[in-house]
Symmetry: D3
Amino acid sequence: MRILVMNPNTTASMTASIRATATAAAAPGTEIVATEPLWGPVSIEGHFEGYLSAAAVLDRLATLDTPFDALVMAGFGEPGREGAQELLDVPVLDITESAAQMAMMLGHAYGVVTTLDRAVPQIQDRLLTAGLLQRCAGVRGTGLGVLELEEDPERTVEVIIETARAVVRAGAEVICLGCGGMAGLDEKVAAELGVPVVDGVAAAVKFAEAVVGLGLATSRSRSFAPPRPKVIGSWPLSTHLGLGRAQGSPRNTDFSAQTSDI
Amino acid sequence: MRILVMNPNTTASMTASIRATATAAAAPGTEIVATEPLWGPVSIEGHFEGYLSAAAVLDRLATLDTPFDALVMAGFGEPGREGAQELLDVPVLDITESAAQMAMMLGHAYGVVTTLDRAVPQIQDRLLTAGLLQRCAGVRGTGLGVLELEEDPERTVEVIIETARAVVRAGAEVICLGCGGMAGLDEKVAAELGVPVVDGVAAAVKFAEAVVGLGLATSRSRSFAPPRPKVIGSWPLSTHLGLGRAQGSPRNTDFSAQTSDI
Amino acid sequence: MRILVMNPNTTASMTASIRATATAAAAPGTEIVATEPLWGPVSIEGHFEGYLSAAAVLDRLATLDTPFDALVMAGFGEPGREGAQELLDVPVLDITESAAQMAMMLGHAYGVVTTLDRAVPQIQDRLLTAGLLQRCAGVRGTGLGVLELEEDPERTVEVIIETARAVVRAGAEVICLGCGGMAGLDEKVAAELGVPVVDGVAAAVKFAEAVVGLGLATSRSRSFAPPRPKVIGSWPLSTHLGLGRAQGSPRNTDFSAQTSDI
Amino acid sequence: MRILVMNPNTTASMTASIRATATAAAAPGTEIVATEPLWGPVSIEGHFEGYLSAAAVLDRLATLDTPFDALVMAGFGEPGREGAQELLDVPVLDITESAAQMAMMLGHAYGVVTTLDRAVPQIQDRLLTAGLLQRCAGVRGTGLGVLELEEDPERTVEVIIETARAVVRAGAEVICLGCGGMAGLDEKVAAELGVPVVDGVAAAVKFAEAVVGLGLATSRSRSFAPPRPKVIGSWPLSTHLGLGRAQGSPRNTDFSAQTSDI
Amino acid sequence: MRILVMNPNTTASMTASIRATATAAAAPGTEIVATEPLWGPVSIEGHFEGYLSAAAVLDRLATLDTPFDALVMAGFGEPGREGAQELLDVPVLDITESAAQMAMMLGHAYGVVTTLDRAVPQIQDRLLTAGLLQRCAGVRGTGLGVLELEEDPERTVEVIIETARAVVRAGAEVICLGCGGMAGLDEKVAAELGVPVVDGVAAAVKFAEAVVGLGLATSRSRSFAPPRPKVIGSWPLSTHLGLGRAQGSPRNTDFSAQTSDI
Amino acid sequence: MRILVMNPNTTASMTASIRATATAAAAPGTEIVATEPLWGPVSIEGHFEGYLSAAAVLDRLATLDTPFDALVMAGFGEPGREGAQELLDVPVLDITESAAQMAMMLGHAYGVVTTLDRAVPQIQDRLLTAGLLQRCAGVRGTGLGVLELEEDPERTVEVIIETARAVVRAGAEVICLGCGGMAGLDEKVAAELGVPVVDGVAAAVKFAEAVVGLGLATSRSRSFAPPRPKVIGSWPLSTHLGLGRAQGSPRNTDFSAQTSDI
């Protein structure tokens, strides 16, 4: 089984870190392919960038010429998942919802630690729409920007732990790391915190394996019926922009363990 | 005061109809400018197209060189409003929320009549996120696609009335027309139905006048703080695509009553 | 267009302050008429007084012999709005709901700063019933009674700001002034606070203009159908009490800018 | 223990029927005193009449010179209960909430059968505010006006049963009779329906006995703190109207079983 | 009327204390019979023990050969009530729900003070399922285990008051004692706290009297229909375990005031 | 990895069918061990039997001397999961929640088709408590008892499909089979229905693999902290009842594919 993991921003080092986490989570026989959009913001810290990124991700999906069995969308609190579910025949897992769902399997209430405070309402709204907010004890920002997470990893872990403690005091029994850029920090945080810590990328990979393993896929009967045929100006964008394969090989798509190609 | 009304799809005849409705609703002294994105789908009937359109609308906003005092987003149930609120200093009104809010001023519970059944959950989710779903007695599709609405206007009105009657039986005391393409049909429907009918475009124009009239604007303190400075590849898209002014004058932006120019 | 603004208590100085705020908010061509009940409490600080006032307001409306195009009810968190909607053919706007709706146009979550702590659950219940509580981040009392607001205006503004700061820390991105007696303080508070501040009287005036401007009115189909004909003992109360015109001209109804008479 | 049962309308025959039901429900040693307001509507079928009645009930309470240990308010879906809780030191039970609470002791979900369809949203809102709506499977009108209930009792029972069946099909396991004027019909309806039927007057009397029996009373700490001392014009209304004792003995207040006097 | 009060744990001293509270609450003519299961945990502090106890209580009910008119289940936040409602023809009152319902008759919002923090989510879930959580301002643990409550009664009262104060600050206007083992402490706590304090055992006894007094009983139409006839291995457990009457007389069932026998 | 699948009733043929479904769902390397309680009801159709079964399952778990890496509880809508989470160090997955969570990965709204109508509120309450009810479009009974499901499999499939169609019309985009006894029917139902059909046993097995695969386990910090040490009379029940190993080898525990032994 091949799972495509999509970093929603264009920062290659973040794609690499997400790929590493996904690969570590994958079962034997699961191939992880990670990539990112060909255009759009280097990090997503708000609605404006989130909406650009949603279109950039859909554009990337529309032009990709490699097969895959499931998509993992690796932006926490980002929009776009429903669009990918319409566009693709394979299952789509989003790390926001996967983290929350995994957490709900482990405890009565969960909390989320994210980057900037401005992301908090955005994440709460995604969880609300997903029908997963009821058992959320709190979402809290660390004050660190997405790209700052990588700058001083030790400090990052410390700040996450400190923030997580406040969420635990508010009733969370499990903590979700609320940013794709926090991928890989779960164990360090859990060791200090004494409650399970869920990495959304890892959770989504396992859930993708679960869905594919049962031969299930997105319902096409109503919300996620395929798009109707129609004219879409300048679509796909990357082709009209002269990006993508025409410009050479994908910049940052590689394949963990196995050698393959998009 | 100048209000920019944004049709989220690229169909000029729909922009014209939306402009007419907005102009009819505007107070003396309010200038309506209507336009649409330079790329994207000709109609929006699902999440995929909605997300493309959200980016296309933000792109259009980023490259527009005309001043305006408020933005009205004329897609019913469409994503993107939060992105525009971050991007702009002027107030942003969305017709989905404006229709619901106006309806809540007129009756205890309201209902929505929209196009395709697939749009129903999408609209419900937008209303849920906006905190306006509690008093919604039902959202129901007519089965007509967005562009079909213009094909046989008489039949369209009949089908809307028939669908609205079912929503009234479910408890709605006011009906919202759930598609920008239904702009202008409110009076005909209301005459038959016996309950008030709200056109979201008209409602949003009046609310834009209200907000601007009080000198208020979007809060910049948390959710809708301005985007942080950062690299965004290929942005603005239309410039990189060679669309927009570089290609000549805007195709379909004009100015009701007054003569002006973007 | 003529908007009647009803102060629910009998304190003329508060009617005057509400009238001034309404007049400042009104568009050119909108005439503001402000008045108050002929009997009832001098201020409303609880349910008992609120229910008396609701009847006193309905009594005042039943005996008024002046035409108007919309009613603004200027009691924050007060009962009675639904009764006026049944009684009148013109639209009715309540400042509680108008403040919340305006705030929801400006930010993701809003908060309310009110007078006494005892009003907090009352306001929350009105917002709950109105279907507008979901995005309320908090309602908080200043500890000042309604009539104390006018005693030391500078101190009043200070206390409101201090209280508002706590609501902002709880997630509010917009603040509503939760008492008709705070009318006119919005700008001073906003200047210090850094988030938009909504005055319910001003918001309701603009929304009344919006509703009337579109030719809309309260739905008469279910909740707000006109009262059925029946015997009501001692009604209207003021007539039986010998109050009102029989006693001479209305004590405190005048007309901003224009000269008119009730 | 003496329980005052307040019919919110001025129809003496309805007071008599409510008194009979309350008396039948009362434990040995409980004295029932029933009365109605001295002014106001002969029946309550909407918000306007409900608000008048709320003030008329508070007026009646303010001028009553008889002691009682608890108040039962016998209007279904009527406003005013919170005002009485502020005014009085003794416990106040409302038949709307008492019916729902009793029903929740008997089954998983309950339903309400009421008079006119226009009362449905009003009742739902009272239950929502009371925090008791979650387990309500439906509120449904019979189409009979309040005073029509007494016209053809056999037909009334038939229509109630037919309406109740629809609510049972919607999931109700217990039915509440949603009008004070339906007092006394519970057994006939239950016999046909096969599910428990709750009369709100009877339930409220038992709950009043329960609260008084434990020596408990309304919390005075926040929502229902006593009214603050202040000027209230023309209060109490009935005294200013020349109604009440000054006019002679109360028209319709008597005392089941025991002989006493207000 | 005879009310059976069931302590869900096997600690006889707690049964005695619950019996005393129930007896004090009972009306003249109400006989209280208190007992506890023949097997199971000595106290219930979590889900595992709660589920064992639920079965032990049902076992006790299935083998009891004494008649009673209503059952009061005296475990706060414990599962099992729905099972007893299926098994028995007489009404079943649970102290968790009874406490909350009584509290909602006395104030706008209530709070719960319980034993260990681990019980908090369990109690919240029971209130949620019962449809009674909406007006709960908070549930808070004292840190005292169930059996510790009896160790130092003075300290227990102090800790309860201190914990209750925090819940009052969070908006509670009434406090529920959230453990059957706190039975009898309500007056001491209320005296200090200044808000009404509800003992669930006392409340449930009064509600049982109310339900029985009106001749009502559990609806048998859906959720609580009688169990279908079927094979249940080793049932009743106590008989197969050689417990109960076969071993002699019940260990700890006696009868307040009256002399009777199970 | 070894997953223990617990049929909550004592019917061996149902254990066998559940085992077959679990085994079919398991990944290579996952060993499925299925068993059932040593006492209790042959099927669970209501709260009384559910509570007995919860204790019987906990008893079975307490006496099992075989290691396992995760527990799947195969009763739909049954209580007890929280108790097992306290008792065990390994993750616990319940088929009710797993079915709903899997369904939420596949569509916007889901529905449940179950056995008897009486189970409907029970299932809704479990989903409510689990925080998963928001996106449930309906739970509906087929009218077939648990053991009737196996009697005429063809008719069973037909009735399930017919019932599922009504749930789809109510908005469900995915259907969950709401009884452990429906295990194995998902593909036949899906083929006819045109929307994905989720078998809770299969879903729970995959989620168990996911949780174990990531090295995660139940949070022990609050709700599911291990039981405190205390006296529990007659515990474990099966030992005191002389059931279990003392009576010979487990009746119906075997091991798919691999040969092992409990």
